[in-house]
Amino acid sequence: MEFLWDVIRDAVAALGDFGPELREVLWLTIVVSGLATVIGVVTGVPVGLGLGLGRFRGRKVALTIVNAGMGIPPVLAGLVLLVVLWDDGPLGGLDALFTPGAMVAAQALLAFPIAAGVTAAAVANLGFDAREHIAALGLSRTGTAAVSAREVWPGIVGATAAAFGRVVSEVGAVLIVGGNIRGETRVLTTAIVEEARQARFGAAVGLGVLLLVLALVVSTVLTATQLRRADG
């Protein structure tokens, strides 16, 4: 028990002296995971709308792939990018390995299938009445997609929240392609791994609390958006 109290006391102390280094880590976490979520949502939602509304050959296969992609292990996404971005790899010339850019790319790979999959499920669940109603408007395909997107707005916000929650909490991908370099590529999750590995459990728990608070704040904002649209 004494050990547990020590850890809690150290965690409070670590959070209490919220220095510039911790601020930097928190800021990079928000920027990397935020950008990755935006990229994932901007590309994934249209794909999801197409998969949910469209009737075309290969739709089933595409949906299966997207749904499977929702469960892709982060370390695998990181590994793929590591090989691609390695100096001798196909995109080695970009010199992007162990930079925040590589971390954004890795997390966007994880966010994309979630944004696409959740959106596809949301529009596929539109009721028959709603579909008939939209079809009666006689819009172009893009127009139909836009109106449907408005209809399932809470679902899209939910997809965004799910994507952000997924990427902000993963450690495998950002550790492999980011390298946890202090002041450059260190984010909350990789910092937690580092602190735990070095037996500074209090600091690790403190960072964990910070990560939870961040996830909670983002989720609160998104849920408020979701409810406003749903109620209004």
Binding site: F98, N180, R182, G183, E194, R197, Q198, A199
Partner: protein, 259 residues
């Protein structure tokens, strides 16, 4: 139904208890001997010879010692003499012994490494700092990090600046970062030899009398008895030495971790 649920629960508890293993020896060791695979090869022989299951996990020396302190590991392999001495003072019941030694290398991009030929370790470090060449530091309380700090102190330099990349990670990942960012890194020889085919870094041919760059490993059985003490006795005995030698030859074709 109730009975069946109880049965399933009892079964689950039994299986979990078995998996947690009563007699299993948990070994925590520096990432330098785990990332390269040496320790796994050695304990495999011990398992085969005695039937005692052994699990190896890699961590920085500071965490290895903390694990030993908290009872999270039964057997420790570390390579930071100062931290080890402190641990042994706090735990007089522990038994320990030197098991093998490798050495540290300074590796870096070929063109720049050529510029450091013939310097002694502090001199080479000082030149890197002066020129602002990228240097990757483990910064993780590992034996390797202790050695980095020792050499910086001898050079009279407090390392800081944008040229210093601090990973806080194990030997393998830190070496990858050094390679891809074209930096220098102090690396334990065995880990470097395993990674060498995939990285473009080369060892600096520095003036090395072997004293400063020696990397002795100590095995510690914190409890001082039981399965961990048996493993320690085996590892330092003739069978252990033979196993260490064979693991070296299999992995490197020569002795890198000298028993």
């Amino acid at each position: 139904m109730r009975h069946r649920a109880g049965l399933v629960l009892a079964l689950a508890i039994t299986v979990t208890a078995a998996a947690c293993g009563g007699d299993r020896v948990v070994v925590a060791a520096g990432t330098t001997v785990v990332d390269g695979g040496l320790l796994d090869a050695v304990v495999e022989r011990y398992e085969a010879a005695t039937g005692t299951p052994v699990a190896v996990t890699g961590a920085a020396t500071r965490e290895v010692l903390a694990l030993g302190e908290r009872g999270g590991a039964d057997f420790l392999v570390t390579h930071a003499p100062a931290q080890e001495a402190e641990f042994l003072v706090r735990h007089p019941e522990a038994v320990s012994s030197r098991v093998f030694a490798s050495r540290f290398l300074l590796v870096g991009p070929p063109e720049r490494a050529a510029g450091l030929v013939g310097l002694d370790p502090p001199g080479a470090f000082a030149t890197i700092a002066e020129r602002g060449w990228t240097f990757v530091t483990r910064a993780d309380g590992s034996g390797t990090h202790d050695k980095e700090l020792e050499i910086w102190a001898l050079a009279g330099i407090e390392p800081a600046g944008s040229w210093l990349l601090s990973t806080g990670q194990g030997m393998g990942l830190s070496l990858q970062v050094a390679d891809q960012r074209s930096g220098f890194i102090l690396v334990e020889e065995g880990t470097f030899l395993v990674a060498q085919p995939t990285v473009s870094l080369v060892p600096v041919e520095w003036a090395d009398d072997g004293a400063l760059t020696a990397n002795p490993y100590t095995a510690i059985a914190p409890s001082g008895d039981g399965a961990a003490a048996d493993l320690l006795a085996w590892m330092t005995g003739p069978e252990g030495v033979a196993a260490i030698t064979a693991a070296n030859v299999a992995a490197y074709g020569r002795l890198v971790y000298v028993p």
